[in-house]
Amino acid sequence: MADRDLRAALRDFASRCNDNERLRQMNRDWTRTIAVRPSEDEPVFLRYEAGEVAVTDLADPDLVVEGPNEILCAIFTGETTPTEPYMDGTLLVRGSQDDMMRLDIISLLIWGE
């Protein structure tokens, strides 16, 4: 159940990314697999390649974003920003600092302001 909600949130997130010309241009050379892992469930994967992003079943991620399913869904639907849960330790991110920052910027460019 938790996995289904998160997968839907990520599909919506991917769709918003792909509809955003600026994001496609910014990410044109960013090839990464991101595991979005709810604490209590299996991860869902996002794959960025040539400016497009899709929800996939690939493993071996470059970046892992881990936290309670509710928080992950809230972040990827723009209900909350990643900053607060990241700063208070609810959200764990493993990977390079650059990738983490970029994912943060992507979400802010979709939902910021």
Binding site: R28, T83, M101, R102, D104, I105, L108, L109, G112, E113
Partner: protein, 309 residues
């Protein structure tokens, strides 16, 4: 005989760049000193407490108290917390000089023919130096703003002031709450070898501008014939720019004993001298009448025998 006034910059940057000099402002000498803390916020806080009440003004280096983009002001949480460690001595971050003096320097460079309308300027960050960015655009230069590239390594130059403002509104309310070390080179990162991944934008530009640590971090092997407009540079930085072919180096703060200091320290010196802070209405007049001058150096023939303009 009265003691010279004193201003100290507490910089999150490397201690290898520490320095002390005397600057004459409005006919009076002010001691200016830069003290790095190698990226340690705790040491910066301790030093600010130690200096509070002992010096006339404190500059905050390597971090801004706020980013001001157009009419919007985004406070940087960690910097505000640092400044709060001083209760008696004013703490400034250089924005007063960036707002008042740096646009005047750009105007002068255009008047003197060092900069020309139609040239392309690669500016490390417009959000950090919005008044300078605005001055370049007003003067007719074509901007490439590197905020996303230099701070986050995203290959996306921002090409207009309007887009800077839009991105600032979306990104800065969140990013100013993050640890500043995520966004800006501090401590030993300031001495790291340059990473030339954005070399093509340097090549496209006639003018390289903005924070020197950002420019240095991504400096390509050759910058032949380019004008560099920046602030904090040591003798080694000047030698680096010359060896890579830069034609002219303009620093918006004066060169003292071989190096130029950050805007935060020069603003602290002005506050120490005149007892006024930006945005006091008299601050701008005092700054412009203080005798403060940019430093303009023609670096001349480069290592390949080519002559600068």
């Amino acid at each position: 005989m009265s003691m010279a006034r004193k201003s100290v910059s507490v910089s999150l940057g490397s201690t290898t760049r520490d320095h002390r000099a005397v600057v004459t402002l409005g006919g009076e000498e002010v001691v200016v000193e830069r003290r790095g803390v190698d990226g340690s916020l705790a040491e910066a806080a301790r030093l600010i407490e130690e200096l509070d009440g002992q010096v006339d003004a404190i500059g905050l280096g390597g971090i801004d108290l706020a980013l001001v983009v157009g009419d919007d002001r985004y406070l940087i949480r960690e910097a505000v917390e640092l400044a709060a460690h001083a209760s008696r001595t004013p703490v400034v971050d250089g924005f007063g000089l960036k707002a008042v003096f740096e646009p005047a320097v750009i105007h002068r460079l255009v008047t003197d023919g060092i900069l020309q309308a139609g040239q392309t300027v690669l500016m490390a960050s417009a959000m950090d130096r919005y008044p300078m960015a605005h001055a370049f655009v007003q003067a007719g230069l074509i901007p490439l703003f590197g905020d996303l590239m230099f701070a986050s390594r995203i290959d996306y130059p921002i090409r207009s002031i309007a887009e800077v403002q839009e991105l600032a509104r979306k990104i800065l309310p969140e990013f100013t709450r993050l640890p500043f070390t995520l966004l800006y080179p501090t401590g030993s990162e300031q001495d790291a070898e340059p990473d030339a991944r954005f070399g093509r934008y340097f090549e496209e530009a006639d003018v390289l501008a903005g924070d020197f640590h950002y420019l240095r971090r991504y400096l390509p092997a050759r910058i032949d014939g380019k004008v560099v407009v920046t602030t904090t540079t040591t003798a080694a930085d000047v030698a680096l720019l010359k060896s890579r072919g830069a034609a002219i180096l303009v620093t918006t703060t004066p060169r003292l004993s071989g190096r130029t200091f950050g805007t935060n320290l020069m603003e602290a010196a002005l506050v120490a001298r005149f007892g006024l802070r930006y945005p006091d209405p008299d601050f701008a007049h005092r700054v412009m009448d203080s005798g403060l001058e940019p430093d303009i150096v023609r670096l001349g023939v480069d290592d390949h025998g080519r002559q600068g303009p």
